[in-house]
């Protein structure tokens, strides 16, 4: 098995339209949640979300290309531009077939579906755009990114709800580890803050309706949490085999040392209350890294701010780590940007890598009233100046799908 390292990261998020702005706003304890501006929310229970703000794709791609992309694809392609810009590298012609793309998307082009279905009802089938299908399909983020980057290796989209981004990173890491590719662009992208998206999650009673206090609405592990907040964006990582990265003199930000996946085999949307499926995925990632659980000092939690997730995730962490669970510095980025669904695992992995590379652990905001059952250290006091050695990034999705990727500080 080859060693796999991260050599660049990029993000478009509710906290900023590039990785540095997002990261600085994360460390500053800011919230990217506000009133929804994309549509009139008068009839909707939830009127707040973590929208990406003032995003102009034409900074990176021309107007015609941008028009032929759904927002989630625009986020991914713009992130890809920044990924290679910051890497100071592009895929050489001779290596194209050894470079691939795996980008997770949970839902795909909801905006297009809404627009085209309205058109179908109003004007009939002959008015449906020939770009409708290619624009809406979830794997078009990976498709367009591969065109942008010239990556002719494996080209895949993982669609596992809120675990999509983390499954993508796990699959990309595996492709390099077993020698299928030398370079992989991976992560997640999503943009579903739309009428159907909000109405659908509202129908499930999954979203917070704390509309009068948008910045306080997402409160993972807090006793008064009432549901998650939708977010959007994209987070990408550039993975390379260690030899490939060293041969080109790349700056190495972190190493990927393990991936774990599991299924709850329990219920469509609810995790089992003992968190057993989540625990299996975390344990598998740690086992693959051949490291003792007591060495894990940081977890970038799934931490959605729903009653059930945060409770079950806490129980799962205790199941895996025993008493050591209380020593682990945990953060829930969703407290500040909402839940980016298919992009969550991508952006949170970007932050996990930054955590290791910069020697500072982000905090969790809005944990004002501790929930006695969620009693782990979630860095509620804010970011912590501490060099973590490991960062375990958790993502769990509807369908009972669980994925965890383990990063390690790169020490040579």
């Amino acid at each position: 098995m080859k060693r796999v390292v991260v050599t660049s990261v990029a993000a478009v998020s509710p906290l900023g339209n590039d990785v540095e702005t997002s990261w600085q706003n994360l460390l500053a304890g800011k919230s990217g949640v506000g009133l929804i501006t994309k549509f009139d929310t008068a009839e909707y229970d939830t009127k707040i979300a973590g929208e990406v703000k003032d995003f102009d794709p034409t900074i990176y791609i021309n107007k015609k290309e941008a028009r032929r992309m759904e927002t989630f694809t625009q986020f991914a392609v713009c992130a890809c531009k920044m990924l290679f810009r910051d890497a100071g590298w592009s895929i050489p012609e001779s290596e194209k077939d050894r470079a691939g793309t795996i980008i997770g998307v949970g839902l795909g082009g909801l905006h297009s579906i809404e627009e085209m279905h309205s058109k179908l009802l109003e004007k009939g089938p002959s008015r449906i755009s020939p770009f409708f299908i290619p624009i809406l399909i979830a794997n078009m983020a990976a498709g367009q990114v591969s065109i942008e980057a010239g990556a002719m290796g494996p080209n895949i989209c993982t669609t596992t709800a809120c675990a999509s981004g983390t499954h993508a990173i796990g699959a990309a890491y595996t492709d390099i580890a077993i020698g299928r590719a030398d370079v992989m662009i991976c992560g997640g992208a999503e943009s579903t803050i739309s009428e159907l998206g909000v109405a659908g999650f509202n129908a499930m009673k999954a979203l917070s309706v704390r509309n009068d206090e948008p910045e306080k609405a997402s409160r993972p592990f807090d006793a008064d949490r009432t549901g998650f907040i939708m977010g959007e964006g994209a987070g990408l990582l550039l993975l390379e085999s260690l030899e490939h990265a060293q041969a080109r003199g790349a700056t190495i930000l972190a190493e990927v040392v393990g991936f774990g996946a599991s299924g709850d085999a329990y219920h469509m949307t609810a995790p089992p209350e003992d968190g057993s499926g989540m625990a299996l995925a975390m344990a598998a990632a740690i086992r693959e890294a051949k490291v003792d659980p007591s060495a894990i000092d940081h977890i970038n939690a799934h931490g959605t701010s729903t009653k059930l997730n945060d409770l079950c995730e806490t129980r799962a962490i205790k199941k895996v780590f025993g008493d050591h669970a209380y020593n682990i510095a945990i953060c829930a980025n969703k407290s500040q940007m909402g839940h980016l669904l298919g992009a969550a695992g991508g952006v949170e992995a970007v932050f996990a890598v930054k955590t290791l590379a910069e020697g500072i652990i982000p905090g969790t905001i809005n944990r004002d009233t501790p929930d006695p059952e969620c009693d782990l250290d979630v860095c509620a006091d804010g970011p912590r100046q501490k060099q973590a050695e490991y960062a375990l990034s958790n993502s769990f999705g509807f369908g009972g799908t669980n994925a965890c990727v383990l990063f390690k500080r790169f020490t040579g």
Partner: protein, 78 residues
């Protein structure tokens, strides 16, 4: 330039993301303006919508250059 010609050219600029000075009468959609088959289909649909008319597939296939589109629509709208 007629109103129809001006509007057609405006649609082409918007749909194909090209600059207005490239959209000359003799410019071919595929060779000169970089359109692919999906672009062409969408372009025809945009013109049908703007001028409230139907352009069937057989007619659409004869629209190769900017001047073909203008001529067809000028004739259709009388």
């Amino acid at each position: 330039m007629s109103d129809v010609a001006a509007k057609v050219k405006e649609i082409i600029v918007e749909q194909l993301g090209v600059s207005a000075d490239e959209v000359v009468d003799g410019a071919a959609f595929v060779e000169d303006l970089g359109a692919d088959s999906l672009d062409l289909t969408e372009l025809i649909m945009a013109m049908e919508e703007e001028f409230d008319l139907e352009i069937d597939d057989e007619q659409a296939q004869k629209i190769i250059k900017v001047q073909d589109a203008i001529a067809h629509i000028e004739k259709a709208v009388g």
